[in-house]
Structures are given as structure tokens and as C-alpha cells.
Subunit: 214 residues, 2 copies
């Protein structure tokens, strides 16, 4: 399928340019943005909501973009929590891209947002290929996904600044050792920071904020 | 991104032809094959291993193909369980396709296999677009993925013959009602069969075999 690959590289180049423009636009408005990746059900939305609460306590305002193939469940959760938010449905695409994000940034009240969380489409494969123009890339995994997900998806972990291991309260029940996941992460990404969370009860959220440089 | 779409349709047409060839090849050898899709950590490998055990008790021989972006953890589990097995690493691709499956079928001892399980790459987006030439499509989800995954991925559920809701033993702990997932599935796929399993202990595996027409 060589023909696709060639077309794909052209698109990636274009996406990189657009990502740069997004970064500029965000900087102009003083917004720090984070690309939050992770599989379906890893707890991305809950982690973002807990981060938003912690930011509020520090007098900082969070906003959110919900990216999904279909539906608006996450978007509605962000809105119910009082966050400025926007929804992106990608249809058949398994990732967000800089172009879609650019359009959505135009809809958001950027001057009322300090920190913007962009929740990517839920999987550990496609989002790795598409820079959005964010400050940092975060990947959220859950111990319930099994002990082998870092080894199975080295690429996304290698290029992600922070790995969040969520639902650590269930580690024993599902028989997965979070420290083993941290070790796998170190192997593919010696500079990444690993944070253990139980986002439901807010555990690890302050440590995560520090890891994000906030 | 219109250019990709056009190329994509050509590829899909080619894939359909190849899927047809796979189906023929499998039929010639008397092999019934199943495309097992589902997110990372939903329990696809464990479900397949339990099905293989149940088949063995009936005097039927199972084989398996492990599809992953990287790594061979699942392949090794299949081999340790004594199954004829093959491993496909897709690199950057988030799904198997008929072409890759065709090559791997040539490596497998098809005359020693009655039922072949093809475990697709772990996510609920991309595999939906690529027919492999199997008898049926199965999607395995886990209650730990949250209560909204059918609504978030209507496409894959709409076209899947059987939905397996796995890890039902954890339903209460994670606060997800399996019956709500079944109701969502009915909405997008009135003809699909939903089976509840706890594959770790083999619960629901006999019902699943019946659903697969075995």
C-alpha cells in the first residue's frame, strides 16, 4: 500500500504546519494546551475533570475539547462541570488532527481559558501520528487494560511526555502491577514521567499537575 | 482530505476481493474463521483461549492469529496453550486487513484447524472498515471500559454479529450496568447477539459457542 504512505506523508507535513499555527493561536491567548490520549475507558474524561477542579482551586480556568468518533457523552460531562467545552465527532477517523482542532479553537472562548485539555479519540494507535499543536502529550492508561499495553503500543508511549496509570485502586483485583507498566514505559521513554492515579477519588491529581509543569 | 477518501475506497474494493479469496481458502480446508475485535485489554485473548478449551472438549481443533501493532505477547499465549498460531505486527496500522491475513493463512496448518480465531488490533474504530473473509465478526468489550462505549462507536457494533461483554464480575466495582450496554447494542444492531462473560473463569463461554453457531 505504498501509494497511501506517500499521500500520508504529505498530509503529515501539512498537519505539522497546522499544528504550529494552533500553537501560535493558543500562545496569543495565553492558553497552555494538552493533548490527552488513551484507550476507551481509561478514564481520560475523569482525569481532565479532576485536573479542572484542582486548577480552579488555584484560580486557573480550564477548558476542554471532547474528541470522539461519535456521540457527545464526554462533551456533556465537561459542560455539566461548568467548563467551556467543544465537541468534535470524527466520523470514521480514529484520531483528532490539527485541522479539526483549529476549527474548534475558533469556537472556544480562548480568553477565558488558561489551560485547555484536548481529549483525543480513544485508542492507543492513531493519535500518535497527529500533532495538534499542544504544549505536551499525555497518555492515560488504566490497569484494567492489562499488563502488556505499553509493550503493545511502544510508539505512542515513546513520544508522550507524561503517562498516567489510572484506576490503580483496581490493580490487585485485575492482577496488574503498575510498577511493571512504569518499567515498560521507562524502557521506551527514559524521559517520560509516570504518575499513578485513582481519578475517581482525585488520588494523584496534584502530582499530575506538577508533572504538567503547572 | 478528499484525496485520501478516494484512494481509500479503491483499497476497500480490493480488500473485499481479497476477503472473498480468504473465505474461499478457509472453506476449502473446512475452516470456520471468526474476526475477534475489541479494545485493548477487553479480554480478546482470554476469550479465545477459553473458547479453544471448550472446542477441545468437543473434539474440535482451534487455531489463532494474533494481530497487534507491535509485540508478540498474545501470540505466545496462544502457543503456550498449544494452539497452531501466527503473529501479525501491523506497525503503524490500527487494523488487520485481508491482504495481511491472506499471507498468514498460508503459514498456518489449515488442515489441522477446525475453527480459526483472528484477533484483530485492539481498538473499536479501524477494524470495522476492513473485512477479512471470516464467517462472523465478534466484538469483545469489558465493563471496565465504561458504560458509553457502544454509543461512542456505533459503527463497529452495528456491523458485528456477536457482542461479548466481558469481565462482568467487575460490573459492580466499576459501576457499569451490562444490561444498559446490551440495550445500547440492541439500538444500533437489533439482530446482534449479546453474551455476558467472565472469561477468566470460563463463565458464558458455552453460550458464546452457541451464539457462534458451533
Amino acid at each position: 500500500m505504498h501509494e497511501i504512505r506517500v499521500g500520508f506523508e504529505d498530509i503529515l507535513k501539512k498537519q505539522l504546519e497546522l499544528a504550529g499555527k494552533n500553537y501560535e493561536l493558543l500562545s496569543t491567548h495565553g492558553v497552555k494546551a494538552f493533548n490527552v490520549m488513551g484507550a476507551i475507558g481509561s478514564g481520560k474524561t475523569t482525569v481532565i475533570l479532576r485536573l479542572a477542579e484542582a486548577l480552579r482551586r488555584r484560580g486557573l480556568r480550564a477548558g476542554a475539547v471532547a474528541g470522539d468518533v461519535a456521540g457527545d457523552d464526554d462533551y456533556r460531562r465537561f459542560r455539566q462541570a461548568g467548563l467551556p467545552a467543544a465537541n468534535i465527532n470524527t466520523g470514521d477517523d480514529c484520531h483528532l488532527d490539527a485541522h479539526r482542532v483549529h476549527h474548534i479553537l475558533e469556537e472556544l472562548p480562548l480568553d477565558e481559558i488558561d489551560i485547555l485539555f484536548i481529549e483525543n479519540v480513544g485508542n492507543l494507535v492513531c493519535p500518535a501520528d497527529f500533532p495538534l499543536g499542544t504544549e505536551m502529550d499525555i497518555v492515560v492508561i488504566s490497569v484494567t487494560e492489562g499488563g502488556d499495553m505499553v509493550r503493545k503500543h511502544p510508539k505512542i508511549f515513546a513520544q508522550t511526555d507524561v503517562m498516567v496509570i489510572n484506576k490503580v485502586d483496581l490493580a490487585e483485583v485485575v492482577g496488574v502491577d503498575p510498577q511493571r507498566l512504569v518499567a515498560d514505559y521507562r524502557t521506551v521513554n527514559p524521559h517520560g514521567i509516570a504518575i499513578l492515579t485513582d481519578a475517581k477519588i482525585g488520588r494523584g491529581i496534584e502530582e499530575l499537575l506538577s508533572a504538567l509543569g503547572i
